[in-house]
Point group: C2
Chain length 707, copies 2
């Protein structure tokens, strides 16, 4: 039916809200921003050390922002989830009840891995990275040269204590930038609404509009009295940021200008049509099926074991999100011919002969990769599973530790030490040996269904897999023995292995350590092959994107998301998901009552339902809606990592937080649709209403400058 | 959560589109009709022998209308389904392909049971029915007196050949009317779109908006050359109706006035709050569960037997419709407190002491009935199942046939003879003995779970059911024997039994006939009890409704639907099913392409999809929509039986056909909501577009006066 499904109209580009813009590109689109309704100087958004950019912070996996001179931070409830969970006990379940710290000393210590990152500078380093690269340098050698250059730049930058630096790749390698961030390590919980507000709608409403989720929470950054970053300490004091956002308690109305600042993770807007073809035909269907099978295994294994179920609750949430995401991708691609649109772009770029050549080489390298990619994914899924993954990481860390720090693989340097430890520690809360065994058996089964020539000898040898369609019974017996004999499920054991020499591993009798050692040579070979491929692909993609950049002088080209700070702008607007259905841009308090069933995830607190019924807190109501707006939709262009991004009005005041996208936005990672791609925000008026009416958080509201 | 669900706003009555109005009441609401946009004299709608009422016809289960001087009839595809199916053969599947008769002689004979009824008069007969009723006459005696009076009136009226007459009960028995209809028995198929247009969306979209169904077809009424009704005959000629509807090919726009004329079957708007309580707590949940179990049994039994599956296809469609309907009822009642609204009405009426007394007696009689109703339903479901139901009908017909015609039970008189025969014949196409046995076993199981004192001795004795929770194994063995030995599955046998004397039944060895005979005495006793109850309930309800009527002088009170001709008016309008969701009143051609998957029920013909893609037939487009409207929504008040009702604009011209309601309208049978109850129409412009672009039915369009 592809010939007849809705074509992606070329005309949709006219409104041009699309784009996760690098801040330095904003002056080039200043006229559009102003025409849309920005009432600040667009140039003011390019300076990271000024307001409002100086107030934007990263949490690593989410975005947040400073909202008071005393380091108060606002972000999504789901971004503060770990902190709230960490502060909860069985007797005092802050997650369920919500939490209000009325004084500084009541603020709760967050999970130790929680960090706040304040971007201090973004420095172009393309020349420095490329200094040792000739066009002739390709494959593994090219990869190594780039990696070495990046490590040098990072090491130099991190000589400044309390900072974290990284070299980010832009435009597939056409540009590199060194980003320096201040790292704050003491982050405390200030406020969280009850779970039944903060996660209202739960997995059911995930990626869904209309939405009624109070997805917000407040944290506070703490530093040593001298202003330096340090770990949690009773004597730490609130951090005083140079800039913080002001609130607009009136919020925005339909069609108003809005923008969001944040750290989008990864998109594939500049990927080729053939990459979409692969994703639709092979990638997503296989991942969807794998996710569904993993979910079934976990469900079966934990059915009568609440303790194990608890350990996998977070994995199940992630898998459920993945399932909805992959299905949404496939639904999205079925509704619009994205590869055709991408091919049109490729044809235009390829008018330049140099670009055409780069494109052809890139396409060919990708095609080669697609031949092996699924086989590699299945092997990786086996060897990264639970205890086996841990054993391999531990052995690799030991091997790397024998080298001077600068020569170690990224991820195994001194700067990565505490993360490695955290990872091993967290396994304790997230792994149950019998569930892990069932999952490893599942992955092994998927791997064993590969052709014999697609499989890996070392793994086959260990599990006794032979020929086409190997018998799995001996593999299952091996698994039984491995899980019966291993001591790696013990956290102290794993932490001890993190200090061990490689030779100790080679002499170990632990079956997982032995398998990790047995796979080590293969793993290194596969890694080298992978890096050689990446070296080539980066070379061709950089050339192709370089040609696109060269052709885009009159019309700036934003890059794919790469975890660096971006700006997206647009307006508050609904959409029509299908014929005769119009979704309005705002939901209201009454919609909560309407959805409520009394059962999770639609179990709003009675206090809240009663307050809605008596129209309490009508000061926060929108005149247009005659009710308090709960969530709203915009045409902003965001992706994972943008969660918690402050939504600002035309004057740069906080009017909400980004927390999700609509179902039709799922495949926007590949192609943005003006007509369908929408971002979901929690409205500042609902945040204030909840703080005031439900939580009576007067002190917090005072700090925010409201009333 | 009831305390917090949306209350039924008293204010919603303000727009007062609600009402399936008896034609004679229209002058009393003339001002409202005119204010709404009627541009005809409302009094013109009261005369059944004038235009437009004279053009409205019934099909028994659906509504239709004359649309040409030569007896051309338009109705829904699903109302003409039996005729289209009858005209189809394995080699020439008109149902799948659609059908266009380009000349009269190509028109296809419809199914022999298809009839057209033209209402000729509605005569008040309350006095005549009540002549022999005193207030003291109650129960069974009252029931019998009413039945006898009705039969006398019907017999007298039907002395005029070619007519069908019935006495209809209005306002629960406060009024009676004799309705006389001309009966036309030769009805032929003129035009049907392909199934994939006429049933587009199938069961999935049933009761759903947005909708894209081409639910229309054309028939023609034929009579003898002398103008009298007769069965199909080659020499019959097209019937020339006194009146026929004219088409408005421009259709209507959003907010325009529309009205529909038709034969709604049954509603419960005047039922008591306690009747809703019972329906919600007992009636619908039990029926829903029963329907689901029957569906499962049929699915299991027909899984590997396409012939049996075909026989039950129509039953499955009916059960699926029932499942959606019962679930929709329960969903609707969960969303709005209908009993509270009904109690408010009851309180108002009960201010009058006589009304209060009638209400109290009615309530008490109903409460008594509720005690036994579910037990009776389960018994009925057993004894009405398939072959057993047929055996009981045949024996009863034999018993009744011994009496003079006027004294026989309605349903068993001479006037019912051909229907009884058709019924027995049709069983051949709809019954498979092993499926029937499984269904009877299921109903027996539900019956056996009743308490011993709720069960019926005669049935228990036959199947060996004893005490509480009886063992069913002997009953199952009995069923095996019965189905192995019976000859009643043979149609000729059943038709022969329709001629047999009661004594022949009593001597039969056929197990189903023997069981029918064994149950006969009980059946007659239960029927008498039921009639006694009905006599009482009718007496009290008539008194209660009489009081309501007396209090409604300033504001006319329409009656519940009772299969008699009604008028409903309102406007073209969308609705909001929930917070932030607005459903527009029109769907468009593009929505068909959008929904299409290529697989049933979303498998529009390629020809159609291509025509949509190239915007063929844009003459039929609405300027507002920039596309051809497919279906539209209105605030009209309809129910089952209204299917096929012509939708007229303010000047009485045809602009569409009623064919369904939205999901939220399902429980409107009990309570109409201005905010949520909507009717779904097929738009005249889509009908013309399909006839023109897909079917090239030029002759038909010419007859309709278009181009």
């Amino acid at each position: 039916m592809l010939a007849l499904v809705l074509a992606i109209a070329g005309a949709q580009k006219a409104r041009a809200d699309e784009g996760m813009w690098q801040p330095e590109l904003l002056p080039a689109i200043a006229d559009k921003l102003t025409a849309r309704g920005l009432r600040m100087d667009p140039a003011a958004l390019t300076d990271l050390t000024e307001h409002p950019m100086g107030a934007i912070i990263g949490l690593g996996f989410c975005t947040a922002s400073f909202v008071s001179p005393d380091g108060l931070i606002v972000t999504n409830h789901h971004c503060a989830y770990g902190a709230i969970q960490y502060a909860s006990t069985e007797d005092d379940n802050l997650l369920e009840k919500g939490f209000v710290a009325r004084r500084l000393r009541d603020e709760q210590r967050g999970n130790p891995t929680l960090r706040v990152y304040v971007t201090e500078s973004i420095e172009p380093v393309t020349e420095a990275v490329r200094a040792d690269l000739s066009d002739a340098l390709s494959g593994k050698a090219r990869f190594d040269a780039i990696e070495a250059a990046k490590k040098r730049l990072v090491a130099k930058c991190e000589a400044d204590p309390g900072h974290r630096c990284d070299v980010y790749t832009f435009y597939g390698g056409a540009e590199y930038r060194l980003i320096k961030q201040r790292e704050i390590r003491d982050v405390r919980l200030v406020y969280a609404p009850p779970l039944s507000i903060g996660r209202y709608g739960g997995d059911v409403d995930n990626w869904v509009w209309p939405r009624h989720t109070g997805d917000f929470a407040f944290l506070r950054a703490y530093v040593a009295p001298d202003g330096k970053s340090r770990d949690f300490d009773e004597d730490n004091v609130p951090y005083r940021p140079d800039h913080y956002l002001r609130i607009n308690p009136q919020g925005v109305n339909a069609e108003d200008f809005v923008m969001a600042l944040g750290y989008p993770g990864a998109t594939s807007r500049h990927s080729l049509a053939s990459e979409v073809d692969y994703a639709v035909a092979v990638g997503y269907p296989n991942r969807l099926s794998n996710v569904e099978r993993r979910l079934r295994v976990i469900e079966e294994q934990t059915a009568d074991r609440p303790d194990a179920a608890l350990k996998y609750a977070s994995a199940v949430a992630t898998l459920n999100n993945g399932r909805k995401n992959f299905q949404g991708m496939l639904d999205g691609f079925a509704a619009a011919d994205v590869p055709a649109a991408k091919r049109a772009v490729e044809r235009t770029v390829a008018r330049d002969p140099a670009a055409a050549e780069a494109l052809e080489r890139l396409r060919s390298a990708l095609d080669d990769w697609f031949q092996e990619r699924e086989a590699r994914r299945r092997y990786d899924a086996v060897v990264r599973q639970g205890l086996l993954g841990a054993a391999r990481t531990l052995y690799r860390a030991a091997i790397e530790a024998e080298r001077p720090d600068a020569q170690r693989k990224p991820g195994f340097q001194e700067r990565d030490r505490s993360r490695l430890e955290d990872q091993q520690r967290q396994l304790e809360r997230r792994l149950d040996p019998s569930v892990d065994q069932a999952l490893l058996a599942l992955q092994l089964e998927e791997y064993a269904s590969l052709g014999a020539d697609e499989r890996i000898d070392a793994l086959d040898a260990w599990f006794g897999l032979q020929g086409q369609s190997p018998d799995l019974s001996s593999a299952r017996a091996t698994l039984d023995q491995m899980y019966a004999r291993t001591e790696l499920a013990d956290t102290e054991q794993r932490l001890a292995w993190l200090q061990a020499e490689p030779e100790t591993f080679r002499q170990s009798e632990d079956p997982f350590i032995r398998l990790a050692v047995a796979l080590s040579e293969t793993d290194l070979r596969l890694e080298a092959e992978e890096e050689a491929r990446e070296g080539d692909i980066e070379q061709y993609r950089a050339a192709f994107m370089g040609a696109r950049l060269a052709g885009s002088e009159s019309r700036p080209l934003y890059d794919d998301a790469n975890n660096s700070l971006r700006v997206t702008y647009g307006s508050v607007t609904g959409y029509s998901p299908r014929d005769a259905v119009e979704l309005q841009p705002f939901t209201t308090l009454e919609g909560i009552t309407e959805k409520d069933t009394g059962a999770e995830p639609f179990n709003a607190p009675d206090l809240q339902l009663r307050a809605i019924a008596r129209r309490a807190g009508s000061d926060y109501a929108s005149e247009d809606l005659d009710s308090v707006p709960v969530n709203f939709l915009s045409s902003l262009d965001v992706t994972g990592g943008n969660s918690g991004s402050p939504t600002l009005d035309g004057e740069g005041r906080l009017v909400g937080l980004v927390f999700d996208g609509n179902y039709e936005s799922i495949n926007a990672d590949w192609w943005f649709s003006d007509r369908l791609t929408r971002t979901i925000h929690v409205d500042i008026r609902y945040m204030l209403w909840v703080m005031d009416v439900v939580s009576e958080a007067r002190e917090l509201m005072q700090e925010l400058g409201v009333r």
